[in-house]
């Protein structure tokens, strides 16, 4: 029973991080129909920004994290302006390839600045062991779940109640109608990329806090695909549920089955979802078929 609880908590903490990254993904997809293959690099970049501010410049961790988020926002806005905007209206493959090209550029830049060596991350969330219901878990895992959950709530509220959030939903719903109501698509796109980059940075910092800063963080960007496909590419609650489900599934298969099966279980789920219900659990049923 305590093993089960341990797996549940570690799966849920990973899952919440996936959800946070997945929401960034969904925001971009809703606003511009682009799948962002550079999400993993955004995670790593956020983690390295925090590393730079806290360790290399010696800022206190709270300021460091804020500064890292601000930098991530700037990067997101720059990327949208320089790379994505010229490609509005191009075919899907161009959009996919441009984010792949972007991921390569970011990786090159990260390598040039910080080198390929993994770095230890300053521990600002304590990893002391606590015992709940007979299971011993790291406090950092619990706090991760808490922070990610809080951020997800803030993001959901943002979409529901702020002007930019409503504009974004309008654009996702019907681009032409939104334009005719005076919504600026450029502004919405910029906000979307800025927010996606920031939420990825927070996710990256939380992963780095759990496992340190290394290029392995990038692989989380790929693992987000099953999450968003399961939840529905255009659904924010879907990304949250999908993240939790995939995180738990990984933890349980890793704990009970082994053989490295936990690395591909998400992709098996993904294939199954695509075959049976391509729009995911909460997505809009507008997928085209032939």
């Amino acid at each position: 029973m305590d093993v089960f609880l341990q797996l549940t908590i570690s799966g849920l903490s990973n899952g919440m991080i996936y959800a946070l990254v997945g929401v960034g993904f969904v925001i971009i997809y809703k606003a511009s129909d682009v799948i962002n293959f550079a999400q993993g690099e955004f995670l790593l970049l956020g983690a390295y920004f925090a590393f730079a501010f806290i360790v290399q410049f010696g800022l206190p961790w709270s300021l460091g994290v804020l500064a890292a988020m601000a930098m991530a926002l700037v990067v997101g806005l720059l990327v949208e302006r320089l790379v994505l905007r010229p490609l509005i209206g191009e075919p899907v493959i161009s959009m996919i390839m441009v984010t792949i090209g972007l991921s390569s550029v970011l990786r090159g830049v990260i390598n040039a600045v910080w080198g390929p060596r993994p770095r230890a991350f300053p521990e600002f969330i304590p990893s002391t062991r606590v015992t709940i219901l007979g299971a011993t878990v790291g406090l950092d895992r619990l706090i991760t779940i808490g922070i990610a959950g809080l951020l997800l709530i803030i993001l959901t509220l943002f979409f529901r109640y702020t002007k930019d959030g409503i504009a974004m939903r309008a654009i996702a719903d019907d681009q032409q109608a939104a334009l005719s109501m005076g919504i600026s698509i450029k502004r919405v796109l910029a906000v979307a990329w800025g927010m996606a980059s920031m939420s990825a940075a927070v996710g990256g910092i939380m992963i780095a806090n759990l496992v340190g800063v290394s290029h392995d963080i990038i692989s989380v960007g790929i693992r987000v695909f099953p999450v968003v496909i399961l939840g529905g590419l255009d659904s924010i609650p879907g990304a949250i549920v999908g993240g939790a489900v995939i995180g738990l599934l990984e933890a349980y298969t890793g704990g009970y089955v082994g053989h490295g099966l936990n690395t591909i279980v998400p992709f098996l789920v993904l294939l199954a979802v695509l075959m049976v219900r391509p729009y995911g659990l909460f997505g809009k049923e507008i997928i085209e078929r032939v």
């Binding site: 899907v92 493959i93 441009v98 390569s104 990786r107 695509l274 032939v290």
Partner: protein
């Protein structure tokens, strides 16, 4: 003097090469390819062989992505199937070189067919993500089915023999690689003069219209997956027999991206584009590495940065092509040709 390209018969319209200048250029290119290995050093031969092998893979991917419009991110996985089955058939069953190439390609075609099944229901982004899953699953099978593939250990192959001749070394393998690449290019060029190829293009341009004019969309999509995977598997099998060592690291998601970059930079839906793209993507890192060696003495700090520069340059090139010339090198080359062809009456 022409002011454009005009045809007065279907025969001329269908010909692969019809202007005299095109024939001369082709003859010059063939002559260059034939005399190249007698003058080139083994470094350049190695690059040429790699280009030839990658051209086959890029042609395969281009059939699927460029001509049929089905985005695939699983190229690396399919190449792994080709390479591992060629290696295992040679090692375990003792199949001769040519037979293992053929069998590996057929096997990859079959695997491609299976992973093409989601294309029944999925389009665009969704299909791309499904092929990404194929890549991850093939990777997992190869690294975890230890009894068959040896897991993460490398497979070591004997050097290939053809008609009793050992085809080891860069010079001898050059003829095989270039021969297969030429055959693959000719096959692809001809495929798109046939009903099957035109059906592929029709599906890419408008699938509903294609099915309305009597193209069985699902059947032809699967055929496109199989044809494409055949060439991709062939390319993987050639890598196995050329490098004589098969390891998992050669066929990751990065490989899928490398090949997509090739056909984007070369030109989607273009045979010559596949060749240009493969050439570009092989020469770019080679040139950057050479530059790094020459800088080693004078500016070691710059040389140390080169791996990052290489990675960054790869991405920058992709982005620049997508933003500035989405039709790739093939379009640039066509512009140059057209400029001289219609000179001075261009309009």
């Amino acid at each position: 003097m022409d002011s454009g390209v005009f045809f007065s018969s279907y025969r001329a319209d269908m010909a692969l090469r019809n202007r005299p200048l095109e024939k001369v250029r082709m003859a010059l290119f063939v002559a260059l390819v034939l005399i190249f290995p007698f003058f080139a050093s083994s470094y350049w031969l190695n690059l040429a062989n790699t280009i030839a092998i990658y051209t086959v893979g890029a042609l395969g991917l281009n059939i699927l992505v460029g001509y049929t419009g089905q985005i695939s991110l699983g190229q690396g996985g399919f190449m792994a199937v080709g390479a591992y089955s060629a290696g295992l058939l040679t090692l375990r069953l003792g199949l001769p070189f040519w037979a293992s190439l053929l069998a590996a390609s057929l096997l990859t075609a079959a695997v491609g067919l299976v992973f093409g099944l989601p294309s029944l229901r999925l389009k665009g982004l969704y299909l791309a993500v499904a092929t990404l899953a194929a890549q991850e699953i093939v990777g997992w099978v190869v690294t975890h089915w230890t009894a068959l593939t040896g897991g993460t250990e490398a497979l070591v192959l004997p050097s290939p023999t053809l008609f009793g001749l050992r085809m080891n070394g860069d010079f001898r393998f050059y003829w095989i690689a270039v021969g297969i690449a030429a055959a693959a290019a000719l096959f692809t060029a001809n495929l798109f003069r046939s009903r099957v190829g035109r059906a592929f293009v029709a599906i890419r341009d408008q699938d509903i219209a294609a099915s309305a004019i009597g193209v069985n969309v699902f059947q032809y999509k699967l055929l496109a997956f199989a044809t494409s995977s055949f060439l991709v598997g062939l390319s993987g099998a050639m890598i196995a027999h050329y490098r004589l060592i098969v390891t998992w690291e050669r066929f990751t998601f990065e490989t899928s991206i490398l090949f997509l970059a090739m056909i984007i930079i070369g030109g989607l839906g273009s045979v010559s584009g596949s060749f240009f793209g493969a050439t570009f993507m092989v020469l770019l890192p080679a040139m950057i590495t050479t530059l790094g060696r020459s800088l080693q003495g004078t500016a070691p700090q710059v040389a140390a940065l080169l791996p990052s520069v290489q990675q960054g340059a790869f991405g920058v090139v992709i982005i620049l092509f997508l933003v500035l010339e989405p039709e790739g090198l093939a379009k640039l080359w066509r512009n140059v040709k057209d400029y001289f062809h219609v000179w001075p009456f261009s309009y």
